[in-house]
Symmetry: C2
Subunit: 379 residues, 2 copies
DNA sequence: CTGAAAGCGCTTACAG
DNA sequence: CTGAAAGCGCTTACAG
């Protein structure tokens, strides 16, 4: 407002268009290289303080902003980091993205978004993204089987960090991931502490590294109590709410008439957990009275669900931060960083409580799949 | 794998480092400009088809990828669009982001992420983002009061499109937003059709344009039925689940003992709706038996809530698509595009049904804030 | 330490 | 239509 409706920046002398370094140098009465060095804070500069001040003042007054393209052409530094994501709708990955973005900003870097599926489908996009010297490095969300296979290829062209899902060892790829084992161990110990002795699990694909680590944490906690997770109490599938719903329905079917049926079910992630809460309600099971439910990952929605969902949070924001920091610090490839600080944090909520007394009353949920209305409720 | 562990690309002749246009031209036996023109599909090129093919083949074989910095220096086109977002955790904005990203990709553009709060807090970041010729244009999520004030400033420097929240008319800014009025009208008509006659509303800030438009849609539908939304049945606040929770608690307090109390409450967005479902449960109100709840925006979580949440979806993905398309088409500033196609879509789910018969039974919810367990449920 | 010169890789007026 | 030349704006060896 109050400024002329033009895309040009206020200018000096007769030349129109954006202010260049040369304009600043001229205005400050110094050479172009010196202006560049002062502006970039080169510690080797010995110019008088007032000269430096004059350069800074001129740049400020003229509204000088370096042309990032020219800079990157000369110095082959773009100030951009590529972030390759799977699924922009998942609240889980978003935390990671937020952390990466914030840390990038701290270093005056910006993030360029890439989508796994699209990069896989469009070879040109893939190439331009990776090799167009468009970005100085890449952060990839691991755990996408097909894309993981190409990460090594990317890492040969650019510094690359895979976050969140450990993959095969590699000489070129750096990996940053949270302590998955500690997380599910913590969740399982919470349930053990409440008195549960038999557990169900609905989680991601059987071959997923993340699934394996999470099952490992559960197994470790159970082993300490001389218990184990039976094969028939596990369901593997996609990391989605729909899969969570289907998974619990399947488990309930398997448990039919079993007086020793599990009293607590762990969800491999929050989406699965949300689906399980829906399935429980649809099947006429009350959570937590009939069944405790707990999930990996704490998201904004966890505490607002009915019942509020017990979760364990992994430091995803910090994983994002660490990934970018590692990338920019020039850490050599092949490093594997398991983030143990901050540790996973338990968020006990209404969806978990002590187990029901299955011995006393026979277990027989409503046969109908519809939850009965609460009898008119507050009327 | 199988490739040498080096950041260099396979090369031609003695020169190391990435393949340049000159390398391609040489390999194809043409001049640099001609190679450039062929590669960029310049229709004016009259070279023999086999010459063109030789250039393309050479580029492909050598793995040529243009240096985007050099290109942008010369042609002042960066191939990047800035996307300025408020809140990376909101599932609502994500749809918009997904659409913008997909459309950008279709034009071989990538998205650079900016964060409203950070750009406001860090003047340098703001300047570099806006004026570093880092991006060719900017898409801004409107509705952030403080940032909206600076949009005009941005639009003077770069083509700018504001999405999702109409702001003041402007000569420079282009706006793209969905038909908010039609959406809440549709939602309200759904509730009217079920038999509801008095309504509550928990929505965003009173001065928010989006709030105003959504209230306008409700008012329009009610006016058709010779009804109106009373002032005392509205609560304004942030667009968050916490605010939804607090809002419904407040409404329930106001309705205490009112035999004519509203039987349906509209949530200004899904986050608010989620908070309301939680509040209803905590207050011992059954949704939909005691109260119907419906919300604006359909997200992945809507159908998985308990009860599943009735919503109206706005074409946010398409808003993102249109924003980018408008930006790249060079549409002059000042254009306002209200997206009426696709129209809002109603998703009727379990959270809405016919109103309870308030006349018959006196309304008196459980005094305790705790929902009673379902009496042992399936035991 | 500083300045004059070179050059990053590309595209686009400009001649031919 | 095509090629030789220029030049986008910056930073960095290289002399001094």
């Amino acid at each position: 407002m109050g400024r002329p409706a033009t895309h040009d920046v206020p200018r000096q002398g007769s030349r129109s268009g954006p202010v260049r370094l040369a304009d600043v140098a001229q205005a400050a009465g110094v050479s172009r290289p010196l202006a560049s060095r002062v502006l970039n804070g080169d510690p080797a500069v010995r110019a008088a303080p007032e000269t430096k001040a004059r350069v800074l003042e001129a740049a400020d007054r003229l509204g000088y902003v370096p042309h990032v393209g020219a800079r990157s052409l000369r110095s082959s530094r773009t100030g951009l980091i590529g972030l390759v994501v799977h699924d922009l709708s998942s609240p889980i990955y978003l935390e990671l993205m937020r952390g990466a973005r914030a840390e990038a900003a701290r270093h005056n870097y910006f993030l360029v978004l890439g989508d796994v599926d699209e990069l896989l489908a469009d070879d040109d996009a893939f190439t331009i993204f990776i090799s167009g010297r468009r970005v100085d490095g890449i952060v990839v969300q691991g755990g996408h089987g097909e894309f993981d296979l190409r990460v090594d290829e990317i890492a040969h062209a650019l510094p690359t960090v895979v976050v969140n899902a450990p993959t095969a060892e590699s000489d070129t790829v750096t990996q940053v991931f949270p302590d998955e084992v500690a997380a599910t161990r913590m969740l399982t110990e919470h349930l053990l502490g409440l008195g549960h002795r038999r557990f169900g699990l609905v989680t991601g694909p059987r071959r997923s590294t993340t699934s394996l680590l999470r099952e490992k944490g559960i197994a470790a906690a159970l082993a300490d109590a001389s218990l184990e997770l039976r094969e028939e109490d596990r369901v593997h599938g996609p990391w989605t709410a729909d899969a969570g719903r289907a998974g619990l329905v399947e488990l309930i079917r398997r448990w039919d008439g079993d007086p020793q049926r599990p009293t607590a079910v762990i969800a491999g992630n929050t989406l699965i957990g949300i689906g399980m809460l829906g399935a429980a309600a649809a099947q006429g099971w009350s959570v937590p009275a009939d069944l405790s439910v707990a999930a990996v990952h704490d998201t904004w929605v966890s505490e607002h669900l009915v019942p509020a969902l017990t979760t364990v949070s992994l430091p995803l924001y910090d994983v994002g931060v660490t990934a970018v920091r590692t990338l920019l610090s020039g850490t050599p490839g092949g490093t594997r960083i398991e983030l143990s600080d901050p540790p996973p944090a338990l968020h006990p909520r209404a969806s978990t409580q002590r187990p029901p007394d299955l011995g006393r009353a026979r277990h027989d949920p409503h046969p109908s799949g519809i939850e009965k209305p609460a009898g008119g409720g507050p009327s």
